[in-house]
Symmetry: C2
Subunit: 357 residues, 2 copies
């Protein structure tokens, strides 16, 4: 499989089929791993980075249960392709902006991806649709075992897995859940929820990390601390807190429906109308209106669209995706026009969404 083929496809985690997927977009587990025989990335020279990448690539290719793995050399990519992989949640923004020999290995169904030579030698991640950390954890545990058989991880009997940043030492695990919380934003309760999460060491970030809280009401909820905790404990911590946030969001939605259904219906319906008719539209505006439409569909206020279509549009209307789908570089102004056109062909009465699915 080639990178270009990914653009028109859709990762399994975006299908909107998992548990609680009206509020939880996806569950993600990532493991940080380092190779015992190499220095950490920050201390590694160019030659060592290349050796790591080549070794890891060869070992991955030898794992029979990982067929058709796409091993992407980031250095050889242009800026649009790098941004594309970030928008796709297959690698970090830091990875896109870094220098030197580095790669990302991608499962064709996007069930997992593995960054090579990011902050650690290896960053494995598994994504599942909806709230399903157990499946994500089981899958990544298996991937970790399979890869661990081929490579020698840096491991300390007392400390556990060794990582470049001390905050990851131990399990090297981060457990996170991407939540869609528009009603808590409208009712202004979101800050209160976040403050109580901080007290129990649960971190909250925007769609693409810190400072992006205005991006379509999406929030990543994840464990803050890893050292001294078992993998099961980390999964449990996040698994315990997420249902409570879901409950808050549901109550806020019920409140909005009960107190001001007409306002809410008007708001989501106009958002849909704008997405269906704008002749140019920015990414931010698109996220903003898609977020409203997504809540509207989940509340039964809009019936003509599938959640899967909206989930896909969140990703496919982003700058690099648009350029990949159109097969050409586009200026910001041209992207805004293409984005409007793309939205119109996938929403509304004459949309392509059925054909695409």
């Amino acid at each position: 499989m080639k990178l270009d083929e990914l653009a028109g496809k859709c990762g399994e985690w975006l299908l909107g089929t998992g548990p609680e997927s009206d509020i939880v977009i996806s569950s993600r587990v990532r493991l940080a791993r380092n190779l015992a025989e190499f220095p950490f990335i920050r201390k590694a020279n160019d030659s060592e980075r290349t050796q790591i990448s080549q070794l890891v690539h060869a070992k991955m290719d030898s794992i029979k249960s990982w067929p058709d793995l796409l091993y992407v050399d980031i250095q050889s990519l242009d800026e649009v392709d790098r941004q594309f992989l970030v928008e796709r949640q297959l690698m970090s923004r830091e990875m896109a902006e870094a220098k030197g020999d580095r790669a990302v290995a991608i499962d064709p169904n996007e069930r997992f991806s593995i960054m090579v030579n990011e902050e650690d030698h290896l960053r494995l991640q598994v994504m599942c649709s909806g709230l399903d950390l157990q499946t994500a954890w089981e899958r990544i545990d298996k991937l970790d075992d399979e890869l661990g058989e081929k490579l020698t991880y840096a491991f300390h009997d007392t400390l556990g897995f060794l990582t470049a940043c001390p905050t990851n030492v131990g399990t090297g695990m981060r457990v996170s859940v991407m939540m869609h919380l528009p009603a808590l934003v409208i009712t202004r309760e979101i800050e209160k929820v976040f403050r109580s999460l901080q007290k129990i060491n649960v971190a909250v970030r925007g769609l693409y990390g810190e400072g992006s809280q205005f991006m379509g009401d999406f929030y990543q909820i994840s464990n803050q601390i890893t050292l001294g905790r078992t993998e099961a404990e980390l999964v449990t911590t996040v698994n315990e807190v997420v249902p409570r946030i879901i409950e808050y969001e549901r109550r806020a939605r019920e409140f909005l429906v009960n107190e001001s259904e007409q306002d809410l219906h008007d708001d989501v319906s106009r958002a849909y109308g704008i997405l269906c008719t704008a002749k140019k539209i920015s990414s931010e505006e698109t996220l903003h209106y898609l977020s409203k439409v997504r809540m509207g569909v989940n509340l039964g206020l809009i019936r003509s669209i599938e959640i899967e279509t909206i989930n896909k549009l969140f990703v496919q209307t982003q700058p690099a995706h648009l350029q990949k789908l159109r097969g050409q570089h586009l200026s910001v102004a041209d992207r805004n026009i293409e984005r409007a056109s793309y939205l119109q062909s996938h929403l509304g009465p004459n949309s392509k969404s059925d054909a695409d699915n």
Copy 2:
């Protein structure tokens, strides 16, 4: 014909069929007349007002070329019906809010209406679609002759027709044209146009008189002075200035298309989207968006709607019209909901507009 039957119908002047009707909605001529044997309204007592109304009613009924004339006693109407006639441009706001015996006589095709006991004993008006003051003038001249045969007008050999307000003495005529000038508003040239009109004694007012300039970019252009001018001169004054304003508006539209067609297309298309999807919407917002859509249709940026449909919606989405059409009194909040529903059933892919026409 009954008043209720008017609500679902559409006056000829709204059909959008007249000359220059992309920019000129309608042409209107009105004549002020008073009866020689009665004091002016401001000096008349209740009994005299009743006598005037009864006399005029009887005489009008005896004119054979005025069949099916609807003679409406304003005192017997509730507030919604009064407002309905104002929205319909069949009588003035002052007439609706006044007290005492008064009436309006309405031609079934709404080609003309005659207010009885407004500021003057009689106020005749004729409306035509587009820029067609000559037809309006010929029609009202004929109506005036027909009515003048039955009644004795207060007329002075030197001054001409006598009127309650000295500014109307002479011909008693006001010539006005309702123009749609959205591009001059967007390009901020409208104020300049207005200042030059003031210099040549041409008045500019909003849709419903002074201070309503934000109502959907509609402006009434009319003669300021009547004394000392003949009817033909008054028609000529307005007839000469209107084509110049049309030319300015057309140039402003061309400028917008040439300089920022994408912005303009986006703006009018979103306006259409909001009208098609809002679940509640105020009169002001409706006028604002309908105005953009009207320009969009005239510029070929929106192709699925007829100008006639939009012209009708301007009138039919107003508060009293909505209530008449729904057959019940509605609160402001309920009207906003009904208005959105009405717009949706007349715009967009599944609209009723074809069936209605």
